[in-house]
């Protein structure tokens, strides 16, 4: 930048603010010596002067600008699709097994039940939810039909060959082990602010999309080399992360991204890494706009939830589309998008 009478004030500013190098300073001083009138201009400039800064008035509509994370429509759709498809899968499995053996549900002690917590969609540690218990024949026979309780809640199994409904859960018989792959809770319409107990329940259901990992933590899982664990941020940035799944965490947040786990999932050669992700709880839902304003401090829930949505909804969409070619065309689209994450699981699932 060459010093001229047109831009001399720019140089004077930098000169007065002591932001020029030595050579340019000398150039400015020479210019001032030749043009004394500009010395007055420089003298008028006080380098200590800054426009006094009044306290910024609080913007009154701040809370209205904040965005509440919502579960994307496709996740809701995926959840719905998963529910419907798994109902079909369960029905098919029962039909298939009964047709093949005729005695799949005849009181064999290998039957296990997966008990879900009644009406409370939040899994809490130490309650036994997700664990498997032997079930008597009497319990099985008195259980309601699947269609009665599987509308909003589905238990998914990689190799369930016989299923029958038990109140609050699904009884699953496995051929070789007691494995429940996942449980999904269908998302519902979110509530912006909690006004009533009903809202709390709705919000819980709406915001809780969980993948209940109940695979037995076997010794084998510990001995297999663990996969690299991505941080929560990486999961958000690169979802779905191959061989990684999100698991609902009943606590408040992902407390420690390094707190990772692995588990053997049937159909997977390697143990699947899973990370505890935050899930909404009733008392965490903002009750007022002010509370919501502080809500942004939380971890990005929807991204983690979305990871699961892609995993569960699309995995099963793919599976069912392959099994039932006449399935809805929309499922094909979901299946295609699910490839990255669901393919290895789905293909192994289908081989079984």
């Amino acid at each position: 930048m060459k010093l001229t009478t047109e831009n001399v004030e720019a140089f004077l500013l930098l000169y007065a603010e002591n932001e020029l190098d030595a050579a340019t300073r000398a150039e400015v001083e020479a210019f001032l010596a030749e043009n004394p009138s500009y010395k007055e201009l420089l003298a008028d400039y006080d380098p200590a002067f800054r426009l006094p800064e009044p306290p910024a008035p609080a913007y009154p509509r701040k809370s209205a600008l904040l965005r509440t994370a919502v579960i994307p429509m496709w996740v809701r759709w995926a959840g719905s699709a998963a529910a419907v498809l798994l109902l079909l899968a369960g029905t098919f499995a029962v039909w298939h097994q009964v047709g093949r053996h005729g005695d799949a549900l005849d009181g064999n002690s290998s039957l296990v039940a997966v008990v879900s917590e009644p009406k409370d969609t939040i899994q809490r540690s130490g309650t036994g939810v997700g664990q498997e218990y032997p079930v008597s024949q009497e319990q099985i026979q008195t259980a309601p039909m699947a269609s009665e309780t599987m509308r909003n809640r589905q238990n998914l199994s990689a190799r369930n060959v016989g299923t029958k409904q038990k109140k609050g859960g699904v009884i699953i018989k496995n051929e070789s082990s007691e494995t429940l792959l996942a449980e999904a809770v269908q998302p519902m319409e979110p509530v912006r602010y909690v006004q009533s107990k009903k809202d709390v329940e709705t919000v819980e259901k709406a915001n809780t999309v969980r993948l209940m990992e109940s695979v037995r933590q076997s010794d084998a899982a510990q001995s297999v080399e663990r996969l690299e664990m991505p941080s929560a941020e990486q999961m958000v940035a690169a979802e779905p992360v191959k061989n990684t799944m999100a698991v609902e965490h009943s606590g408040n947040s992902v407390k420690d991204p390094s707190e990772n786990h692995s588990a053997n999932i049937q159909g997977m050669k390697q143990p699947v890494q899973y990370v505890m992700v935050y899930s909404f709880e009733a008392d965490s839902v903002p009750a007022t706009p002010e509370e919501e304003a502080s809500f942004g401090e939380r971890l990005p829930v929807p991204e983690n939830v979305r990871t699961f949505g892609k995993f569960a909804g699309k995995l099963f969409a793919r599976t069912m589309v392959e099994r039932y070619p006449q399935a809805n065309e929309k499922l094909v689209n979901v299946y295609e998008k699910a490839e990255m994450f669901a393919k290895p699981l789905a293909s192994n699932f289908l081989k079984k």
Binding site: E9, A10, L13, L51, P52, R67
Partner: protein
Amino acid sequence: MNTKEYNNCVKQHSDALYRFAIQYISDTAAAEDVVQDSFVQLWQQCDRLTQEEAKAYLFTVTRNQLVSIYRHEEVRRRYAESLPENDRHESGYRQMEMQDVLRKTLSRIPEVQKEVLLLRDWEGFAYKEIAEITQLSEQQVMVYLFRARTAMRKHLEAEGYHFKASSLTKKQSKDEIDN
């Protein structure tokens, strides 16, 4: 930029944007609308902006809206000035607080200088960033900043204020000293 980062931007920049806006337009409701519209635009651009880029983006879109509104206000102001003296409201400058003094003195310098001055001294933008926001060259930004600071200091002194140690204080008049 994700939802959390967007919300952080709201918390960090909305007050400053509002302060910036009300230096341009006297109607606070209109200033609020401008800020709100700016954040709506930011939300729409979340996919292509990072949190670091958000501040300059917000000031750019706010400034563009303000320029448009200011032009309309200027027409109204000229109309008001054409009315007889007793039709105008009393300003009550004697009772003005510092903010009012600043508003008054800022109104005496050209808009472009005011813009540059606010962005630099209040918001701490670099010359280059100010140039991008105001669509000026960096050199022009420095020239305007030099002129604005010089003019503002003189105007404030003429109002009986002097600037010392980063604060503005009112000079006592000779009568006040005598009393």
